[in-house]
């Protein structure tokens, strides 16, 4: 007891206490750098060079532009560039030595052939090579009305149209028996589960392409947790969820997913990876039609909302795909794409949670178990439908 009263007298002011560990840390760092205890290991450390080619652009015939980032811990000097196994003249701006996290632009006058692959290699001062694989050389999109319209149409085809078409099942769904309606909700859960897995895997795949320093995989995981947490907190604020709000949340989650999908499609068209473009677009349209079913499923249990609600929902879920194709086509970054996809994954997880609760509450009210064979079957069918329609786009 005595000590508790005497201790405060002997302690330093609180601000100093708060700073103390930091001061000691600064001292330690300064000492470490001054004494260099690691010099023992010197010679065992080759320079760690890590260049990544962010984008390869073909702005016009006879011109190639590369955007390069140094994602490694050490500075890297780009000494030479080969295109299709030939040394090629080039200019690098601002400088051919890139510090940590610095970027540079490399311009080449090279007679590239549209529709053909083109291997490009960067050779650093130490002789390490970093490849920039071009699957197919395609003239890069530029920001103009025609391009925006073309990419916007892509977004409408893969986002807005399928969602709106799917919503047209609403009148049919209103007429079916409650038991079957729950099965449709379960089907929604099924297709959302598929979308969650699909979105997360896609995000992780893109994360693997990002330079190590950005820690793509943790960013994907935390991105998903972040959007899940935010949406859960928003949902908790207003007590029980109304069907309309659940529908809006589903639309939002699907919208984020479609944004990511739009990014991927836009990038695929821009880099020439989507050689069979029209088939891919039809595939996505079919694949995404079920998303509309999922959005309107919660609305079947009350009176029909006005038409504008449906329009808003369709836009919320579908329109992000347009934004996605624009960004993906004109300024694709694997890191940003991975991040947005992870937000989508988190949002979808939250929607699964909400729809699941809706089913659960319904079952409790009726005194029946939520996981009937019918509901389970509905969920399985949901996954299966998504799986099979995905054949069209993989």
């Amino acid at each position: 007891m005595d000590t508790t009263t005497t201790l405060p007298k002997r302690t330093l002011p609180p601000w100093l206490l708060a700073l103390l560990p930091l001061l000691l840390l600064a001292l330690l760092v300064a000492g470490f750098l001054a004494l260099d205890p690691l010099r023992f290991f010197q010679g065992a450390f080759p320079p760690l060079e890590e260049l990544s080619v962010q984008r390869v652009l073909f702005p016009e015939p006879g011109r190639i532009r590369l955007e390069v980032l140094n994602g490694g811990p050490d500075p890297v000097t780009i000494a030479q560039v080969t295109v299709d196994d030939a040394y090629w003249l080039h200019t690098i701006s601002p400088d051919n030595t890139l510090g940590r996290l610095e970027t540079a632009t490399i311009d080449l006058a090279y007679p590239w052939v549209a529709g053909e692959p083109l291997p490009i290699n960067l050779i650093t001062a130490t002789g390490v090579t970093f490849p920039a694989e071009v699957e197919v050389a395609v003239r890069s999109a530029t920001v103009d009305g025609g391009t925006l319209l073309a990419y916007g149409l892509l977004g409408i085809y893969v986002g807005v149209i399928p969602v709106a078409l799917g919503m047209l099942w609403y009148p049919f769904m209103r007429r079916v028996d409650r038991k079957w309606l729950n099965a449709i909700l379960a089907l929604t859960v099924g297709l959302l589960v598929f979308l969650f897995v699909d979105t997360l895997l896609e995000a992780l795949e893109l994360a693997a392409e990002t330079p190590g320093v950005f820690q793509g995989v943790p960013v994907v995981i935390f991105g998903a947790l972040l959007s899940l947490g935010i949406l859960l907190a928003v949902g908790r604020r207003a007590g029980e969820q109304t069907p309309r709000r659940v529908a809006a949340l589903i639309a939002l989650g699907i919208g984020l997913h479609n944004f990511g999908e739009g990014l991927a499609i836009g990038a695929a068209f821009a880099t020439g990876a989507a050689a069979l473009g029209s088939f891919l677009v039809v595939g996505f349209t079919l694949h995404n039609i079920t998303e509309g079913v999922g959005i309107v499923a919660p609305l079947t249990r009350r009176e029909r909302p006005p038409l504008r609600v449906f329009i808003l929902l369709a836009l919320l879920a579908g329109a992000p795909a347009i934004l996605g194709t624009w960004i993906g086509g004109l300024a694709f970054s694997p890191f940003l794409a991975a991040f947005f996809l992870s937000l989508g994954a988190g949002a979808i997880l939250q929607v699964i949670w909400e729809v699941g609760k809706l089913l659960l509450r319904d079952a409790q009210r009726e005194g029946r178990p939520a996981l009937t064979w019918l509901n389970f079957g509905g969920a399985v069918v949901g996954v299966l439908v998504m799986y099979l329609t995905a054949f069209l786009v993989k």
Partner: protein, 372 residues
């Protein structure tokens, strides 16, 4: 750089010819055609090539110096017999193989090479100094291993097993700091090579331990036409001085150690003899090129001479050509030979030569003769 540029140059030349009378007929009657305008290159590389310049001063050796540097060592006599001696060092060093691209190599050097004499100390160079001697001489090569790895010198020539410079036979691998004197007779005459035969062999060759080894024929041993050819080939004769002699060691460098070369070259530096640094050739002088292929990883290398043909002596061990009037030959690793050609009567201009594996050419193994 060359193909488009050269085609352009030829086109220009063609135009100049069409518009002006031929020099032979009108040398005195009309002003000489504007040869400079017709033959100077535009400097347009067509985009192909490296950016920047190799720092030859930092390298301490220069492909243009190596091209015509024949290290004849120190010649003495013992019991009436000529004895030729070299001191040969093996060292570890980094050098620039293309502008800005450095290679951590292992190389040979002698105090008697042009680079060493120029700088006053032993320069480790890639390729190693071109050792030149005459058939029948006694050769002594004092090898000093100043590298941090065991090495040997294995000569392509005729010698005893203990002098073969391979692991496990005779002195075997010479450890760091170790010495050994390889001694044998100079035979057979020809264009040969030497290289390190320490294991792992592939790495020891690829790192840069090789060089040309030329044994000139002794004219006294031949008669008639062959004696004349031998005199022309023997560096101690006046006939040989009349010939412009060059040596090119075809090599490659795998800078990222993935088993494929990133840089190909004649005498180490990519595009060393490009349009901006062509090899000067006097039109009225006969040309002789000692060509040695040591390229690692690729099964063959080759040379193609543009707009001209040459006589080829495979291994250089004959006094008559093994191939007459060819413009392309190929060599497997360690294969070598002598090319004899002339630009007499040719229009001045840049004449290209390169590996006719076009990939090798565009990765550095190409160059130009500036025929004047």
């Amino acid at each position: 750089m060359g193909l488009a540029g050269l085609a352009g140059g030829l086109g220009l030349r063609g135009l100049a010819r069409a518009e002006t009378p031929t020099p032979e007929h009108s040398r005195h009657a009309t002003p000489t055609p504007d040869v400079t305008a017709a033959t100077t290159h535009t400097g347009d590389h067509g985009g192909m090539g490296t950016v920047g310049q190799v720092d030859h001063a930092a390298n301490q050796f220069d492909p243009h110096e190596i091209l015509t540097d024949f290290d004849t060592g120190v010649l003495t006599e013992e019991d009436g017999r000529p004895v030729r001696t070299w001191e040969m060092y093996a060292v570890d060093r980094e050098f620039e193989i293309a502008p800005g691209v450095h290679f951590p190599g292992w190389v040979y050097g002698t105090p008697t090479s042009a680079a060493s004499r120029r700088l006053g100390h032993v320069v480790g160079q890639c390729p190693g100094p071109t050792l030149r001697c005459v058939e029948g001489e006694r050769l002594r090569i004092h090898f000093i291993n100043a590298s941090s790895h065991p090495h040997t010198i294995h000569f392509h020539g005729i010698h005893s097993a203990v002098m073969d410079g391979i692991p496990g036979v005779g002195p075997g691998m010479i450890p760091p700091g170790g010495r050994f004197t390889y001694e044998f007779d100079a035979k057979p005459f020809g264009c040969h090579l030497y290289h390190c035969h320490a294991v792992p062999l592939k790495r020891h060759i690829h790192k840069g331990l090789y060089g040309a080894f030329i044994i000139d024929p002794d004219p006294a041993r031949y008669s008639g036409e062959e004696a004349a050819a031998a005199r022309s080939r023997n560096h101690t004769t006046a006939e040989s001085q009349a010939v412009n002699e060059m040596v090119m060691v075809l090599n490659g460098f795998d800078t990222n150690f993935d088993g494929e070369n990133e840089v190909y070259a004649a005498n180490t530096v990519a595009f060393a003899y490009d349009m901006a640094h062509p090899i000067p050739i006097a039109r009225d002088q006969p040309q002789r090129l000692y060509l040695v292929n040591v390229t690692e990883f690729d099964p063959i290398n080759s040379i193609h001479l543009h707009a001209n043909f040459f006589d080829y002596y495979d291994h250089g061990t004959t006094l008559r050509p093994t191939h007459k009037t060819v413009d392309t030959i190929m060599q497997c690793q360690a294969q070598r030979g002598i090319l004899e050609f002339s630009f007499a009567g040719f229009e001045p201009g840049l004449y290209m030569f390169h590996a006719h594996q076009t990939e090798l050419a565009e990765l550095g193994w190409m160059g130009f003769f500036d025929v004047r």
